[in-house]
Structure formats: structure tokens, C-alpha cells
């Protein structure tokens, strides 16, 4: 008996405009609607090239990787181009404006975990891709976030278009919202932000528009608009934490963006994000209290009313998948050098791919 074929849904003529926008969002330069006066402003330029130097040559002789980042674009005191992209740091309740330049190609910025209107959410198919635009939002909850391009996201985030985003409580840096009666504020002395990531250097030879669909063709004849590629096949060969490349599985990263230095009696706030596409297993050699996830403090009403912070004893591993963020508080009680590491596991086979090590030095 002949096999039955179950057809894909067909795109009706009424749906065609939505379909074309879905696969190929328009580029536009609108004024920010419902605009308010900002309390704080940032400037960002999408897709600026930066070389990432490797501690040793890859088998093919490569000693650097071309990254594409979101660069600071401030009219004065502009920060150098860097990978990851520069920190955006604001306070809870501020009206935030991010003036973004998408250049010729059209990009977007999604402030991951921030929940504004669709035009300020940076998803092209639900709004537009930017030539230039001012993103507007007002963070209601303090915590750990990150921002990234949301066009051809699979490739653009891999190329390096992401950076850390911190929303401080109104008291500002040095304080974090966490379960602590009566006011649920925890004061910290040392802050670290680990953005763990992996790089598949093959992808960095691709054009940023590689394998995108193109609009204007018959939605029911995909051969007229699809481009097949390799973006389902992620084989990372370079492993980083906050832009610092690990040399091998055993040598600790001593880069100051990663290695933590503190004194006995101090409080360390560790912000951790999986900024890659593997399953990442973190381990810290000090007892740690997990006080928040994804910008929502545990045990703190109203959003944390149904949860509670919990203790991870020293060396207890925990796993994060892409874009998950945890905040941990550590209070070292003795001097020493304590290990801190990330193991990277393949998202399909579950096999361990690499380990990046660093340390927490307590004086």
C-alpha cells in the first residue's frame, strides 16, 4: 500500500503578508512610540568586528577568531570595542533608552529577561529590524540579565553580539535584591559576572546573513525562499568565560574578568549566565547561596513568594542551559585558593566537550 503523505499547512492568501514578514522582517527607522524622557541613556552599534586572540594555535593554524560585537557608540568617552559587548547597568525603575545603530544590514537588540512592548523587545518578526532606533523600557525587577542581537540569532549571538545587563536595586551597585529581612537587600563587596560561551570557528567564516530565508516568493513552494546550511551543526572548539579564552582543560583562567579576588569576611556576588549553546555545568569551591534566577529573587515577594533561596555546598555542580541566569552569594570564612569551573556538554549527545577553570582567591 502506498504511504500516506501528511501535508504541511498551506499559507492562505490572507496569511501571506504575515508569512513574508515572519521569514524576512522589514527594516525600519521609526521614532520610539509612547516615548518618555529617559533617566539613563546608552548608545550601541551593531556588528562591529573584533579579533579574539587565542592562547594557542588551533590545529588549522588559527591564532585568532573574528568576533562580531555590539559596540559602544556613545558620542563621547566611547568604550573600546570588546567581546563580550560592554555592560549595560541601570537601576530598577529608571526609564532606559538605548540608541541603537543597526547599520546597513539591519539587526535588533533583545534585552533578555526585560519585558517591554514588542517594538522594544527586538524581535524582527514581531516588529521590525533596525536601521536606527531608540529602545525604551523601565525595569521593574532588579537582577542579572543580558542583551543580544535577535536577527539570524543562531549565528549572530554565536558571532559575539551579546553583552551583560545588570539592573541594580534603587540603592545602586553594592546591593542586590535577595531574601534578607526586613528589606530584602544584601550588601556585597565583590562582584563577578561570568558569561560562559563556546565558539565554533567554522561559523565565523560565514556571512552574517548566511542561510537566511528571503521573502517575496511562494510560501507554499519553499524551494523559492529557503537556504539550507550548517547552523544546526554546532561543533565548538573554543571555550570562553566573559571573553577570556581557556587554554586547555586544566590551566586556570587568571584574567581579572573571570578570576575572583576577595578577603575573609567579604561577601561575593557571582552572576552567572549561559551565553552559549551547550549545557554548562558550573562548580564553585565555596559554599554558595542561590539567591535569584533570571532576574527574580528567590523568596522575595511578590514574584518570589512561592520560592526560597537555597544553599549549594562547596563544589556542588549545577547546570544551566542557554540564557539561564543564577545569582550566588558566597561568604568565604578562610583564606585560600578555591576552584571555580565550567564543564561544557553537547546539547544532543550530552558528551563533555571541554572544561574551563578559574579560581576564587581569598586573602
Amino acid at each position: 500500500m502506498a504511504l500516506q503523505t501528511i501535508q504541511r499547512d498551506l499559507v492562505t492568501p490572507e496569511e501571506e503578508v504575515k508569512f513574508q514578514k515572519f521569514i524576512s522582517p522589514p527594516k525600519d527607522n521609526p521614532d520610539t512610540p509612547d516615548r518618555l524622557k529617559p533617566d539613563i541613556e546608552f548608545y550601541r552599534k551593531l556588528m562591529v568586528g573584533v579579533d579574539l586572540n587565542l592562547p594557542s594555535r588551533l590545529p588549522d593554524g588559527t591564532d585568532k577568531v573574528k568576533m562580531m560585537v555590539i559596540a559602544d557608540d556613545a558620542p563621547k568617552n566611547r568604550l573600546p570595542e570588546q567581546f563580550p559587548s560592554p555592560l549595560i547597568r541601570v537601576r530598577q525603575g529608571q526609564i532606559v533608552h538605548v540608541h541603537a545603530d543597526g547599520g546597513q544590514d539591519g539587526h535588533t537588540i533583545h534585552f533578555h529577561g526585560i519585558e517591554p512592548t514588542p517594538m522594544n523587545d527586538g524581535v524582527g518578526k514581531d516588529s521590525f529590524e533596525i536601521g536606527s532606533y531608540t529602545y525604551q523600557w523601565q525595569p521593574k525587577h532588579s537582577g542579572t540579565y543580558f542583551y543580544h542581537c535577535h536577527k539570524n540569532t543562531t549565528l549572530h549571538v554565536e558571532l559575539g553580539m551579546y553583552g551583560p545587563l545588570i539592573v541594580d536595586p534603587p540603592e545602586g551597585p553594592g546591593y542586590v535584591t535577595g531574601y534578607n529581612l526586613p528589606g530584602h537587600l544584601i550588601r556585597y563587596d565583590v562582584e563577578a559576572f561570568w558569561a560562559a560561551d563556546e565558539i565554533d570557528t567554522r561559523w565565523h567564516d560565514l556571512q552574517h546573513n548566511a542561510f537566511l530565508t528571503h521573502s517575496g516568493h511562494d510560501p507554499n513552494d519553499p524551494s523559492t525562499f529557503t537556504s539550507d546550511g550548517i547552523l544546526n551543526d554546532f561543533r565548538p572548539n573554543v571555550f570562553v568565560i566573559s571573553g577570556a579564552v581557556r587554554a586547555n582543560d586544566t590551566t586556570p583562567i587568571t584574567d581579572s574578568r573571570v578570576a575572583v579576588k576577595a578577603k575573609v569576611g567579604q561577601t561575593i556576588l557571582m552572576r552567572v549566565v549561559n551565553a552559549g549553546y551547550t549545557i554548562q555545568q558550573f562548580s564553585f569551591g565555596l559554599d554558595a547561596d542561590v539567591i535569584a534566577m533570571d532576574g527574580r529573587p528567590l523568596g522575595v515577594p511578590p514574584t518570589g513568594k512561592y520560592s526560597a533561596p537555597f544553599r549549594l555546598s562547596a563544589g556542588t555542580p549545577f547546570r544551566l542551559t542557554s540564557a539561564q541566569r543564577w545569582e550566588l552569594i558566597m561568604r568565604p570564612t578562610r583564606t585560600g585558593t578555591f576552584p571555580a569551573s565550567v564543564d561544557y556538554f553537547d546539547w544532543v549527545t550530552g558528551k563533555k566537550l571541554a572544561t574551563a577553570r578559574s579560581q576564587i582567591t581569598v586573602a
Binding site: Q4, K18, F128, Q136, D233
Partner: protein
Amino acid sequence: MKRRDVLKLGMVGLAAVSFKSIGCSGGSYYVGQDISLNITEALFEMVDRKPVYMWAFQDPNQPDPMKAGPRVPGPVISVIEEEDIDLTITNTLDENHGFRIPSAPGRPDVVDFGTLAPGETKTIYFRAPSAGTYMYFDPLNSPVNRVLGLHGVMVVMPNNPLNRVPYSHPTANVQALFDDLGTTAEFPGHAWEPSRSRIWNLHSIDPRWNAKAQAGTPIDSGQFQNGFLPRYFTINGKSGFFSSHDMDTALEGHVGEPMLVRIVNSGMATHSTHLHANHFFVLAVNSIVQGNVFMVDTYPVRPLDRVDWMVPFERPPDIPVHPNNPGQFLRIDAAQELALSFGGVRQSPLDYPMHCHMEMSQTAAGGNYPLGMVTHFTFTGDVDGVPFPHQG
């Protein structure tokens, strides 16, 4: 409570027993105690209309011809806790297959049919387990038979419809959350209604292995696991535009209309499901109702995981509140945006995505972003029931 009594309550209008409205795209709903499924085969067009051979479940008693064909995922089995079920499985194919429904980790299976030889029919009686989200699948040559198409979802509803919580033994924190929805300042609007439910069956497909099955070539499960390179990513069997606009998959509602989402991963990849516009509460993982109920924007779903979310449908919290809008209505705070359109598509209603953040899953055939594992999360109106202007 007996099924008959539950259904009677339904007649008098208690929404909690509206089984027909349990969202799913399996397309078949079982409210009778006698359930039959055939194990069969078909070609399924992927999002780029490339046909892929799959093993599939089919409901031989489905009267609606639109739903009567082979389905991947299989039809949703919807039952009531402690209900006595007679389940009949027929293997119409010419190799061995199986059927199993696991329970919580470390607990005995809900049901396991062992091996069904080609042409064999078996009926097994079982009692519906505690309320929650389950996956059924063919466990033979694991994970091959499951991944090649033989999987689906079983939803178990509590047998007390007056308690508007989807579990019979909620933890104190889950109960408190459901008590608060629609009654506190944090969650203005409505309590959760069982009709406000969705199922997301996440799946990943590497057609090279399906082609082997079609050719009748034996598949070694070890080689399969080491050599699996997913090429298509689906939610309820659809991808990209089609999963985004599927009424049984997309989340839609007014501010203040919370929605339960039951997620299962029948595929090979670990997914990192991320919702824009709202953080969600993680209610249950693998049949364990959570004591520590996290509110997050991203949560992992490993192969075989079952994860229940409560999406509060709160006003997206980081939209600035404008002066002179004490009701915080979006039709006021987003008035200008709601009147705009881009690419011929209006900004009203307010559309956001849910997608897997392991971004390879956003592709089809290695490119074609975003024709992968994505759906829509749409706000159509304000908390006071007023729809947004300019929709269309």
C-alpha cells in the same frame, strides 16, 4: 469522584471539566475509558515541505476525517485521575514495537506493553495515575522508536474539578500561587481556568535515520545517539510560522488570563525554552509538583522531561507606566505603538515569541531562521476585558 459525576458537573457549567478544551494539536480527545491506538507509518512534510518517513500513532475510532490520519505526535490521551482505562494498541507494521508510559522517576511505570509483534493487538487495563503531564512512547531500541515518531502526551486531570489546581496534591506554594491568581494586587484579572491550557510536544528530527527505517535497515541505538544531527525542530509537529500560528500551540489572551503549559520533550536535544514578555512559574517537573516554585524566563527541557508552566499573562512588567494611567492599561501606555504597522502587519495585538534558546533549534535544514522551534505569545486586550484597538 466517578467520571460520570465529573462529567455531570461539567453539564452544569463548571469549566474545570471542559475536557474538550484541553489545548493540544494531537487533535484527538479521549473522554471514553476505551482507548485504541494503532502503530502505523506515513510521510510527513517538514516546514520546507520535504517529506520525512515517520512511524506514527493513529486513532482507529476517530470520527473526524481531519484528525483520523497518522499523527506525530500521537493523539493526546486525556483521562481523569484514578479512572480505570482499557488501552488497546495494535502494531500494524512489520517490525516489533512497544508502548510505555513512565511515571515519576523511581516509581513503577503507569503502563508498559512489552513487545508487540507485527500485526499483534494487546489490551491492557490500567488506572490513571496522579494528575499531571505524562508522555507515552515506544521504548524499544531506545531512543530510536520514540524519536522516529512513536510518542505523544497523556494528560491526567484531577478528579476534583472544584479545586481549580491541575494537581490533586499541590504543594503549599503551588496552591498559594493558584489562590493568588486573579485575587491579589500582583495578579489582577482572572483565576486559572482549565480551558486555559496548552501542550507543547518538543521534537527534533534527523531525516537520515528516518530514511533507514523506511528502507527497513536495522538501526543501532548507540550509533543513532552518537550520530544524531537534528535538522528539523517541531512543537506539536509544526515549525516556524506554522507552530507560531497554530491555535492549539500559541498562547493568546488578555492581560490577567493565566495559562497552563504542559511541555514534553520527545526528541534528542536538550532545549532551553524561553518566553518573552512574561516570566513563568515552574509548577511540576516529571510528575513532581514543585515545592520551590521558581519564576524564570528560561527553563531546560531535557529529552523525556515533562515540565508544567504557569504563564501569568501579567502586563509585561517593563513597559513604562505613563502618568495619568492609574489602571496601567496597555491601550494607554502603548497607544502609539498599537496604531503602528510594519511590513503590512499591525503591532496590535501585541505579539511576542516563545522559542528555544539553544538557537540551533531555530533553524530548519541548517538555516532558514526562524523556521524552527518557536511559537507566539499574544496579548489581545487589557485586564479589564477591553480588547486592544487596531487589531488585524
